[in-house]
Homo-oligomer: 189 residues x 2
DNA sequence: CGAGGCCTTGACCGCGGTCAATGCCCGTGG
DNA sequence: CCACGGGCATTGACCGCGGTCAAGGCCTCG
């Protein structure tokens, strides 16, 4: 059950069994159905999630009623509504499991307790923040000034899993284009 | 010279004079001219910058020759080409001072040395990462599915300083629209 | 005083959004 | 097991937003 999580830490830092068991006992497994909403927009996020199996999606619904997707987390990735979790303010995004999934969740208190007491955990968290920021940044640059075709190519190059595993509707909302346009583009490679 | 920096830390954590002096002695002041390039695309970034006076811009030039701006740092803000600094890979962005500026720079080694030895510094860095990530995220959501008019309104609401202080050309490259379009939009409020 | 860069404005037009019709896939219940 | 229904993908017609290109004026700096 904690194999993926253990791998995650061992890939990133030196950690002994005892320390890892202190970490793992703060995580509790949960199972979700397809399309299950884990966090509603407007709620305050209390948990950090690690994906054991399946897929998480973070998205919002804009004023005009359209969905905008920010992030997909697949197996072996962390994901949560970070702004809400950090500031304990109402989330402006939903968390949803795209597929039937198995997650490990940890409460905000436990998470920050681990950050403060286990140096390896603090280090890994710093890495998560750095990598998250970098990928957000790459996405901002990556999308600036690109037309729809180029965005799809960009995704194919840097995140092909999203194109193959996720429905067109969600991919389109990730790219900021309409499903119609995505469908047209895919049909001409 | 280190007043702004001191304020930055005191606003965010408890810190005594002695500890702060350990921090401040790692920063060296530099002065720059208007439009001076501090880091070229392709170079590896070695420094973190704090803006005492003036303004930093982080931008790139895409394949089609257009500029894309990611971030403006005004007085009392940190800024650098983070992906390059963290991974020590060639930067995909330029750092430029928009105005005549006074900066404090700290080397990567000193920066991480402080992160590892001064808990308050590690805490502040974590905060910087968290806030940076949150604002990148808000920008991704904020721009998704917005037309040019709405983007300008968004900027007016959340970052008005950029609109008043920065040239239209750069603002346009920040919003991902052309200067022509920005000009037309501004003329109709 | 000249030159270069930026802002503004006009004319044009192509990308991609909207709307709607159709067909497919899949889950659900009789 | 099959019939039904809802959601999604696909495709066509239309058209408006915003990009491109170019011209003209202004400001700044050498």
């Amino acid at each position: 059950m904690y194999k993926e999580l253990e791998k995650y830490f061992k890939d990133r830092t030196e950690i002994d069994e005892e320390t890892f068991s202190k970490i793992s006992e703060c995580f509790t497994p949960i199972k979700t159905k397809i399309s299950q909403i884990i966090l509603q927009k407007g709620e305050v996020c209390k948990k950090y999630y690690f994906v054991n199996k399946g897929c998480l999606r973070l998205f919002t619904i804009n004023n005009d009623g359209n969905e905008g997707t920010r992030y997909f987390a697949f197996e072996g990735a962390f994901g949560t509504a970070l702004p809400s979790l950090i500031e304990q303010t109402p989330a402006f995004e939903y968390i949803q499991t795209v597929e039937k999934s198995e997650l490990l969740e940890i409460s905000r208190e436990d998470f920050y307790k681990l950050v403060d007491t286990i140096p390896q955990f603090a280090f890994v968290y710093r890495q998560i923040l750095e990598v998250s920021f970098i990928s957000a940044q790459k996405r901002i640059y990556g999308f600036q000034g690109l037309n729809a075709l180029e965005k799809v190519k960009w995704l194919k190059q840097y995140n092909p899993k999203i194109l193959t595993r996720i429905s067109n509707k969600m991919v389109a909302s990730f790219l900021g284009i309409t499903p119609s346009t995505l469908s047209r583009i895919k049909s001409q490679l």
